[in-house]
Amino acid sequence: MTGVERIELWIGALLTLMVYSFLYRDNPFYKFAEHFFVGITAAYAMVLAFWNTLMPNCFGQIAPSLVGHVLPTAAENPANPVRWIPLLFGLLLLARLVAPLAYLSRWAMALVIGYAAGANFTRYLQSDFMGQVRSSMVPLLVRDAGGIAYGSSLSNLVLVAGLISALAYFFFSKEHTGMFGRASRFGIWTLMVAFGAAFGYTVMARVSLLIGRFQHLGRWLGDIF
């Protein structure tokens, strides 16, 4: 282990212990780590967005020769004046920080929302609505070489009935009574099975993260002893 790696390991371990101290109760060590984390997270995202997107795709295309001093590849491409438009909208977004001009940020927001609405409209329609309806068109009576496959038939029935009844539960324009009420009741049960499975999987995920941190602390303890 090099000296730099050792310093990284020690800082990481101490910050880990500071965060874990919250399990005992809220304390200044935890608060320090929490506030430090917020600061470096905001800066991390800013730096990556600046060097990976703004410089090559915006500034580097508006003023290639100027940006070429720090990003040599930018100078290899011709200028693309169209990129002044997103730059202008980006600056309008920052107008939010200046109270008298804050209303101008709506223009940038309008473009972002228009883009998201247009893209999501078609993609959700294709993948999450039509795609899901299509995937649910399964045979309720499945046959195999030995005749009727009762297991597969029952499974498909559970899938289709569970889906329709769960959708019925989400339909609030009709009172949940009678046959519709019974269907919606079955829908709740289907959803409960899904939520139970989700709980089980959430446990798995969180435990995995804990194992990861303990491995890190283990390496640190190994360095001490």
Binding site: N52, P56, N57, G131, S135, V203, I211
Partner: protein, 291 residues
């Protein structure tokens, strides 16, 4: 105070300590366990196994340090498999933290096990781009519109394996290693479905169940959580035994199982306490009614 009252009022910090011990102790002993690949994981393995040499695989790193124990082993297993089979690996990221995770993978896989594979000819690291689903939509139509350089600042036109790549449609498979938004869902919506490109996923356990409705028509296969990663490693080791010692997920399945059982015990004790308390209250009401 009765045992029931004591169980009811147990300090949460004792539960925390038990949980910590439940993970730490098995981690010390590292029990070896057998894991068998499930069909949903095998489909990803079989697809990569069946692709002809030189096929293009795009791997997106859409996760961060918070889910490394789950996501990094799957990413490493996929990268090993792809390079072992002499397929071409294109690495991108829609998460700010994804680029750093790809860098770590380069150190642990490319610079360790595949030093003979050439950067720019066998694998390339294109790095992070902002925009979430907008990033996917942008490279779906024209890769160079957004990726003018790789992560190190080299012009993409100077990278041999980028010469015949115009858009995502040129990829034979997209593997997204993800832990949230944007993730596998967005790759299906913005690349897989509109371009008819096979999409496979490796996601955290929390995310895995939400993706089952896409399987198998829109989603080729899925590695869900640490178990999914371990299953892929098991398939890889079965075919290529030289990677036995690199199976990070398989090595920590022991603590994972013990923690699961501990949670089950907590649920059982919690419910036993609840029912005992309810019976005591019922008895109390009956006794109160008689008096």
């Amino acid at each position: 105070m009765s045992l029931l009252d004591r169980m009811k009022r147990i300090d949460r910090r004792i539960l925390f300590l038990l949980m910590a011990a439940g993970v730490a102790i098995p981690l010390l002993f590292r029990p070896t366990l057998t894991v068998h690949p499930s069909p949903i994981v095998s489909r990803v393995f079989d697809k990569i196994e069946s692709l002809p040499e030189g096929s293009k695989i795009l791997m997106s790193f859409d996760y961060g340090p918070s889910t490394v124990p789950e996501n990094q082993p799957m990413a490493e297993a996929i990268a090993r498999h792809v390079l072992r089979r002499r397929l071409k690996l294109y690495m991108v990221s829609a998460w700010t933290t994804g680029q750093a995770q790809a860098d770590l993978l380069i150190e642990s896989v490319m610079r360790t096990d595949f030093t003979d594979r050439v950067y720019g000819e066998d694998w390339v690291h294109l790095g992070y781009k902002a925009g979430n689903q907008g990033m996917i939509n942008a490279i779906f139509g024209a890769m160079r519109n957004l990726y003018t350089t790789d992560a190190a600042g080299t012009n993409v036109d100077a990278i041999p394996m980028m010469r015949d790549v115009q858009s995502l449609r040129d990829m034979d498979l997209i593997v997204d290693i993800a832990s949230g938004f944007p993730g596998v869902k967005e790759w299906i919506q913005f690349a897989g479905d509109p371009g008819n490109i096979p999409v496979a996923g490796g996601v955290t356990a929390v995310e895995a169940l939400l993706l089952y409705p896409y399987y198998p028509r829109q989603l080729l296969g899925l590695m869900g959580g640490l178990q999914g990663a371990a299953e892929y490693e098991a398939a890889l080791v079965a075919k290529y035994p030289e990677y036995r010692d690199d199976s990070k997920a398989l090595q920590i399945m022991g603590p994972q199982y013990v923690a699961h059982l501990l949670i089950v015990v907590f649920i059982l004790i919690g419910n036993a306490t609840y029912f005992a308390e309810r019976r005591r209250q019922k008895r109390g009401r009956i006794a109160g009614g008689r008096s």
